[in-house]
């Protein structure tokens, strides 16, 4: 194990984007995006598909040039000594398919060979949990194992900044949890991590801070807790009816209800004080002879933040 890197607050930001714009013919993929990622944190770009996350990431790692704006990565700008900057960044992109008939160990060794100060490929393979597949052709890997291989390739050069574009897309929930744990262990070693995801609960679990991206803009930036705290009601009552229903307008009139919406047949009510509002809601249902299938009281999540920011329902898929 190499010593944990120092994470003193004196270090400048790992990444700073100012007024970033990327325009293709008629489409604006990134629309004056400002972001600052602190050294040593795990930062999440959160948003639905097509929000501009991938474009922002590709500009950040020097694969695309911005139409306008400034990009500073690890204290450097693209266009001057790119090779030395690239050697400090580990990248995994979406939908990379590795050569089918190379083994996991061969692919990681290949990527390690590109970096001036690389790590032992077998060590990296062990860390991402692929050791029993080290000798297998990449064509024999499952989806989760492929993502782990991509992570291993990104880690092979011992990067200061790890950039992962949708590293868990398409994985089942269990594989996503395990993958998240691997990523977190790198943060503990002082590596700065930027990842994009469209899974809100994943961002909430893994990231110190997130930026909610929609239509090329950052709608909000902060820790998941702070973002949720900005909601004027941070509890959500989820109700499913067994019989009968109550119109949204009547629910909105109940004391302490801040907003009402429906998702997948469930009634979602944002409330500030559960002990006042929940009994009042139950009274309302009783007077309307609506019977409950179930009722859950939960903390508001980043999805609720997204809805309150955009007024649109968040889709995971």
């Amino acid at each position: 194990m190499r010593p944990v890197k120092e994470t003193s607050p004196a270090r400048g930001p790992a990444v700073s984007l100012r007024g970033l714009v990327k325009r293709y013919d008629t489409v604006v993929a990134v629309d004056s995006l400002d972001l600052e990622i602190r050294a040593g944190e795990c930062f999440g770009l959160l948003g639905p598909n097509g929000a501009g996350k991938t474009t922002a990431i590709e500009i950040l790692v020097g694969l695309q040039t911005p139409t306008a704006g400034q990009v500073e990565v690890l204290g450097q700008e693209w266009g001057k000594d790119d090779r030395s900057l690239r050697s400090r960044i580990g990248v995994s992109l979406q939908e990379t398919r590795f050569p089918e008939r190379l083994t996991v160990a061969e692919v990681v060794a290949l990527f390690a060979s590109f970096y001036p100060k690389s790590r032992d490929p077998l060590l990296v393979i062990r860390e991402v949990g692929l050791v029993e597949k080290a000798g297998a052709w990449t064509s024999k890997l499952s989806g989760g194992q492929r993502q782990r291989l991509a992570l291993a390739c990104a880690l092979a050069g011992d990067p200061e900044l790890l950039v992962l574009d949708e590293p868990t897309t398409g994985l089942d929930p269990q594989a996503r949890l395990a993958f998240g744990d691997s990523i977190l262990s790198y943060k503990d070693r002082g590596c700065t991590i930027l990842l994009s995801t469209h899974y809100m609960e994943e961002a909430q679990r893994l990231c110190d801070r997130v930026a909610i991206i929609d239509r090329g803009k950052a709608l909000a930036v902060g820790s998941p807790g702070d973002l949720i705290a900005t909601l004027d009601a941070n509890l959500v009552v989820e109700v499913e009816m067994a019989a009968g229903d109550v119109e949204d307008e009547a629910v909105r009139q109940v004391a302490g209800v801040s907003s009402v919406r429906r998702e997948n047949g469930a009634l979602l009510v944002s409330v500030r004080e559960a002990h006042i509002t929940v009994p009042a809601l139950l009274d309302l249902f009783r007077t309307r002879s609506a019977t409950l299938a179930h009722l859950t009281l939960r903390q508001a999540t980043l999805s609720d933040v997204y809805v309150s920011l955009t007024g649109r329902k968040y889709r995971d898929e």
């Binding site: 694969l63 090779r83 960044i89 990248v91 992109l93 939908e95 398919r97 190379l102 590109f114 001036p116």
Partner: protein, 342 residues
């Protein structure tokens, strides 16, 4: 060799040998082709001309006269059947008995013209014609002048072209589709190492493509190079590099495998026809010759034939080396310039 280049080269090599189809197309197919063509045109005994006598009064006499001669294979058929056979290439010439006797054949088919002359000579002699000028034949059957001797350098050249264009063009486009090019570009990998690894991987496969074919043709057909093996080696290396450059150029922009296979076919088919793989370039009109001579495959095959059949020296082959060198260098430079990485 730096470590990245070494690893890239190793990865290319491993990927290739782990694909059975690569082995087939690169090593087995050319050998099969050489054997099939070598056996079809082995040239030990000249093929007897196929003459068909049309079944009319007098046909039996004509057929009997012709059958006394080994140079002609004779059949007697009805007019309709004979015409059909002539159209489909089963007969070289029809002999229609009568007064006068009529030879029916396609003058653009060399074998038909030959058959007409043979049949006519036999029939004229049988009718009493004598040759005034005494003459005898001296037959050439030694190695070096047979069709197989002509064919082997052609196949070798075609094989080197296919190896370069498919072996590099196809693989680069696959990497682009897999987004591997993009991912590698995000690493500190040097672009020139990546392209160099592709070119050098051709040098690794070159001996495997050339040596077995030459050895087998030498063992089975007695095809052996008249010139120096060193010159031959230098020529195959130059040819392989030339097509490596062209393969890189064709792959520099293509984003789908359909595009790259279209481009490669577009490049290879005209050259297979024009560059003298199966028959001599001199069959094409003089006005086309400068163009044909400027093609890389023509240069490569001319060079190979020069060394293998005429024993030409390196100095005599400079024009061919120049053509191959120019194609290789120019296409590689342009490829680097317009290459699409992402």
């Amino acid at each position: 060799m730096n470590s990245a280049l070494g690893h890239l080269l190793l990865a290319r090599f491993r990927e290739s040998i782990r694909h059975p189809e690569t082995i087939f197309w690169t090593f087995v197919f050319p050998i099969l082709l050489a054997f099939a063509l070598g056996i079809a045109f082995r040239g030990e005994r000249p093929d007897p001309a196929a003459a068909v006598v049309v079944d009319l009064p007098g046909a039996a006499d004509v057929a009997r006269t012709l059958r006394e001669n080994d140079d002609v294979r004779v059949k007697v058929l009805s007019r309709a059947a004979a015409d059909h056979l002539l159209r489909t290439g089963g007969a070289a010439v029809l002999v229609i008995p009568g007064d006068p006797l009529v030879y029916r054949y396609d003058p653009t088919r060399p074998d038909s013209r030959l058959a007409r002359e043979r049949v006519d000579r036999i029939l004229q002699r049988a009718a009493g014609r004598t040759d005034r000028l005494p003459a005898s034949d001296s037959l050439v059957t030694e190695p070096g002048a047979r069709y197989i001797d002509f064919l082997v350098p052609g196949l070798l050249g075609m094989n080197l072209m296919g190896g370069g264009l498919w072996g590099i063009g196809w693989v680069i486009v696959e990497d682009r589709i897999r987004k591997l090019l993009k991912l590698q570009l995000a690493t500190p990998m040097r672009k020139r190492d990546f392209l160099l690894a592709h070119v050098l991987s051709r040098m690794v496969f070159l001996p495997l493509e050339v040596v077995p074919l030459l050895v087998l043709c030498w063992l089975f057909f007695g095809v052996s190079p008249a010139g120096s093996l060193l010159t031959l080696a230098a020529g195959t290396v130059a040819g392989a590099l030339s097509f490596a450059g062209l393969g890189t150029l064709l792959a520099s922009r293509a984003r789908t495998t359909a595009t790259i296979s279209g481009l490669i076919n577009l490049a290879t088919f005209p050259m297979i026809v024009l560059s003298g793989v199966f028959f001599s370039v001199s069959r094409f009109p003089d006005s086309l010759q400068p163009l044909i001579r400027a093609l890389p495959l023509t240069a490569l095959i001319d060079m190979l034939r020069g060394v293998m059949t005429d024993g030409a020296h390196l100095a005599e082959l400079l024009p061919q080396f120049l053509v191959m060198g120019l194609w290789g260098t120019l296409s590689f430079v342009v490829a680097l310039w317009i290459f699409r990485w992402t």
